[in-house]
Symmetry: C2
Subunit: 220 residues, 2 copies
Amino acid sequence: MEPSHEPTERTRVRRKPSRGSYEREVIDEILDRALICHVGFVDDGQPYVTPTIHARHGDTLYLHGSPSSRTLTALAGGAPCCITATLVDELVLARSARQHSLNYRSVMVLGNAREVTDPDEKQLAMRAVVDHIVPGRSDHVRGPDEKEAETTRIVALPIDEASAKLREGPPVDKREDHELPFWAGRLPLTVAPGTPIPEPELHGAEIPDHVRNWRRDSTV
Amino acid sequence: MEPSHEPTERTRVRRKPSRGSYEREVIDEILDRALICHVGFVDDGQPYVTPTIHARHGDTLYLHGSPSSRTLTALAGGAPCCITATLVDELVLARSARQHSLNYRSVMVLGNAREVTDPDEKQLAMRAVVDHIVPGRSDHVRGPDEKEAETTRIVALPIDEASAKLREGPPVDKREDHELPFWAGRLPLTVAPGTPIPEPELHGAEIPDHVRNWRRDSTV
């Protein structure tokens, strides 16, 4: 088991501290299950939040994209950033409007990214991104050639300053509201894969197991 | 149809401008379908990105939460913010690692929020939040009483400076990669509701239609 983090002043969960966690095991699971993350950076005092695919490898979070991406340019330049990944597990429906909520798990990673320039680490990161979307797929694709690696920008953020926050359990209505004639409960949500849509011109390729068996458990 | 926005220097989609849209119809649909959004704000030069439930009413985006929430406190104070909502529609699996992608739709709204203090607007916003999670549900719950409304902080952001960005369609492999023996195609994703988990002590309440028929179409 990974050692747990000590929260910093910036990652400590202030509101409802019982919902906070600094365990790497909890943090890693959320990062690995979330298909995408949202990256925040600041430009001229204005925050921007952009969705992107991420991949974790050990203690590092990788993002990839075009060298001309504004987000990656800011991050490669060492701008402070915040990467947040969120899973939604259940709708939480109470008898009172006020107590409606979602059961969710989210992770926030703060810090300063670095640009990855080492060719081996770039290959590793690009492989990790493919396997993040579809576990096991990187053995069944053509890997990036030198030119593709050169024209892909990769940035790496250490998972040093990170916290998880989550809600679980039933709705919490006031005692007197239990008498009300309204339905209350939870609605679990899952990501369900549909029927794969193959490309034309496939050469002898059946739908592979890594696509056929793709699952993201019981979470969005 | 709503008039389209003119993009500002801050919302114009620079990378792959063909993926950008400034049509209110497109923007509103994404905002309405996304269960949650990610809110970015800046504190002491550091960006923070937090997930939260939002609701659109006309030209306004509402967020709600505790008066002690750090995010809402910053937004209520007029700090510049960015609210981003994202739907993931399909995994895009190419023959080459580099061409892997996601089909997605996202909206970014920039601006300065205001705190909602008018009791009627607060009621409207709290109602909108319940109906955002489960359309039609606000008629089947106890609405917020005066104390609950007072102890809920609501902030409103006008949908003035906003842009959508999306990817759709198949993977785009290089011509010479079409000969490779790898499977390529798309995997559509849907949010599938599971079996509702009712609270104990319900008083004559069957699972209502708005819960039984809950759908979010073909998107995460």
